[in-house]
């Protein structure tokens, strides 16, 4: 589904990603871990097409096409979804309006008929159950006045509505209490099918107790320093990141090769 080859990316002239190699297949869940500043969030944003990040080398192939040539909105319509670490507030635009527009843009793209507000309301009601969100959130402005946990839930609601093929969850666990974490993780697990793939970007192992990854990749200094199965996350929880930062594996090569 996604193949990242020797990806280098910079922001304001500072190179953050220094040669990432990663292959993601349908049905898989990959965790990207690493200390602060290792490039985890940058990788997520580059995949979503954030305009501030410049890809300086390498390539990203998504379903056989050059992802880097696509605009952010096109990527989204093609099935890429990034749950934001810091979801943006959009005053004056209701959650329902926003979600319906996004949903219909995708429908149009797929040559399907758009849903009117009433039809969409029914769909939204169903999807909101997945993240246990109250109907009152639909008439409120997007993320405005939402708590940290509500914003993250709202991100997963968007994922539920848009049904992406590849979801990138950028530190979705940050700022969540344990109950909210469970709701969010539960939602993600309900949405995951053998036909989509999920990249979970996280600093802590905690979320991975709920969203169990098939593979764990540890970033350090803009490169993948270790790769392994879900047990690698537990090892990190115990030992911290220092031992990996101090003894990185060669560029993109893991100590433990992930099982294919």
């Amino acid at each position: 589904m996604l193949e990242i080859k020797n990806l280098h990316a910079a922001i304001d002239g500072n190179e953050i990603l220094k040669g990432i190699n990663l292959t993601i297949n349908k049905g898989e869940i990959h965790a990207i871990m690493g200390p602060n500043g290792s490039g985890k969030s940058t990788l997520a944003k580059v995949l979503a097409g954030h305009p501030q990040y410049e890809v300086t080398a390498g390539e990203v192939i998504y379903e056989g096409r050059n992802l880097l040539e696509m605009e952010p909105d096109q990527r989204a319509r093609e099935g890429i979804f990034m749950a934001f670490q810091y979801p943006i507030e959009v005053p004056g635009v209701s959650n329902a309006q926003f979600l319906r527009l996004a949903y219909n843009e995708k429908r149009k793209h797929l040559g399907e008929e758009e849903l009117d507000p009433l039809e969409f309301k029914d769909l939204l009601k169903e999807r909101a159950k997945i993240v246990e969100m109250d109907a009152s959130f639909m008439t409120r402005s997007v993320n405005e006045g939402f708590s940290g946990g509500e914003k993250k839930r709202n991100e997963i609601l968007q994922m539920a509505v848009l049904e992406p093929k590849l979801s990138v969850l950028d530190e979705t666990d940050s700022g969540l209490d344990i109950d909210a974490l469970r709701v969010v993780a539960n939602g993600v697990n309900q949405l995951h099918t053998p036909n989509d793939a999920i990249i979970v970007v996280t600093h802590y192992q905690r979320l991975l107790n709920y969203i169990v990854p098939d593979f764990v990749h540890v970033l350090a200094g803009g490169r993948i320093a270790r790769e392994g199965g879900k047990e690698l996350a537990l090892e990190l929880e115990e030992k911290g990141y220092d031992w990996i930062v101090k003894t990185p594996e060669p560029n993109g090569k893991g100590a433990v090769a992930p099982a294919k």
Partner: protein, 406 residues
């Protein structure tokens, strides 16, 4: 009568010029050069059905070229509120004392050439009187129709809300012609002790028009006056709004939205005057400027000596959609009391790239995303409007100007 004296005053003052500090950014030279002819009363048939809101079906007055048209107005839903021709009121023994007391009081013409001009041409207008303790449930709409090209109209409104009354007044400025004309309007509002008045002002003149208005409100003890001004039309529009709080415990919100595009200029000058203690004022003005559109916002808040416990808040936010658009904004606070809570601020910005990225990351095209954010920007003002059809109409208008539908 005041007319002769006002004419004399206008002859002395003339149109304001850009040498006048209050008119620094709004040049009336083009207007002064026009040969607009004062409009006269006519009884022509006119379809006004598109100008009124469902909420005001039984309570609307139609004023054409400044003259009240009783034949086109509907006043069956007024519930004891008086809404009649202003000059008739002046000649009516029941109301002449009120008219004499309040007409040309809040909006004095001695220092303002345009108000002097309006007063000099006072030939009709609307008098609204909300008697003591009367609560008018339905909004009352006054629609000012500019119907004749190359004419000048001088609409006049006097609203007196007696003690503990409440009402909603909608002033709407529209046109039935596509040519140039001049609207010079004055509205005076008196809100007595304990009264509550909501006042909407919707300016949708055609884009050739010149539109100059003064709104002057005077608030009684523990009264409340909430006003929202929407400025969308005219090639040149200027609104002077002033709210004077000379009695304790008055509260006001003075909000507005202006949205102009190429070859349009809109100017709001607002004065909120805290003269007595324990008064609150809250002001939110937002502007959207496209093309080479220009806007001016000048907001003064005075907190006079002794006006302790004043709570005053003023915000002016502007969204520029083009590099050629221009805004001159100047919020001003002048405080002569020491125990007050005051804040003011102005912001000028463009569409936030992070907000836009968020929308595009959900598959929304950048164009639709920009329009959605612009619409959301306007909503902060529109959403506060309590009359549903006005909100809906403004939503549609904003979206239409953005060539978007939701």
């Amino acid at each position: 009568m005041v007319r002769g004296s006002a004419m004399e005053r206008f002859e002395q003052l003339g149109f304001p010029s850009i040498r006048d500090e209050e008119w620094k950014y709004t040049n009336l030279a083009a207007l002064a050069k026009e040969n607009f002819i004062p409009a006269t009363r006519n009884e022509d048939a006119l379809d006004v059905s598109g100008f009124t809101y469902p909420e005001t079906a039984n309570a609307h007055l139609i004023v054409v070229n400044g003259f009240l048209r009783e034949d086109l107005s509907v006043t069956t839903g007024l519930e004891g509120v008086v809404a009649i021709d202003l000059l008739s009121a002046a000649a009516d023994a029941r109301y002449n004392k009120l008219v004499r007391k309040y007409l040309a009081r809040n909006a004095g013409y001695h220092n303002n050439g345009l108000t002097a001009l309006n007063t000099a041409f006072l030939q009709s207008g609307v008098f609204i009187w909300i008697p003591k303790n009367v609560n008018l449930e339905t909004p009352l709409q006054v629609t000012f129709v500019a119907g004749v090209e190359n004419s000048a109209a001088f609409p006049r409104l006097l609203v007196v809300a007696e003690e503990n009354s409440s009402a909603t007044i909608i002033e709407s400025f529209v046109s039935t012609n596509g040519g140039r004309y001049f609207t010079n309007a004055v509205a005076e509002v008196v809100v007595k002790d304990g009264a509550k008045l909501e006042h909407y002002r919707l300016q949708r003149e055609n884009k050739q028009a010149f539109h100059v208005t003064t709104t002057s409100a005077d608030l009684g003890r523990s009264s409340r006056y909430d006003t929202t001004s929407i400025n969308l039309g005219a090639q040149l529009s200027r609104h002077d709004v002033s709210v004077v709080m000379d009695h304790e415990g008055a509260e006001t919100s003075v909000d507005g939205l202006y949205m102009v595009g190429s070859d349009q200029h809109t100017d709001t000058h607002s004065v909120i005057d805290h003269k007595q203690p324990h008064c609150n004022s809250h002001q939110l003005y937002k502007g959207i400027l496209d093309g080479n559109g220009r806007a001016v916002f000048n907001g003064k808040i005075y907190v006079r000596e002794g006006a302790q416990k004043t709570d005053a808040m003023q915000t002016n936010k502007n969204l520029l959609l083009s590099n050629k658009a221009r805004i001159d904004t100047k919020p001003q606070l002048e405080i002569f009391a020491d125990d007050v809570k005051c804040a003011h601020g102005a912001a000028v910005g463009q569409i936030d790239p992070e907000e836009l990225f968020y929308l595009t990351a959900r598959g929304i095209t950048p164009e639709l995303g920009r329009n959605l954010l612009t619409y959301g920007f306007a909503e902060e003002v529109i959403a506060k409007i309590k009359v549903e059809s006005i909100r809906n109409e403004l939503d549609e208008t904003v979206l239409r100007q953005l060539h978007t539908s939701l």
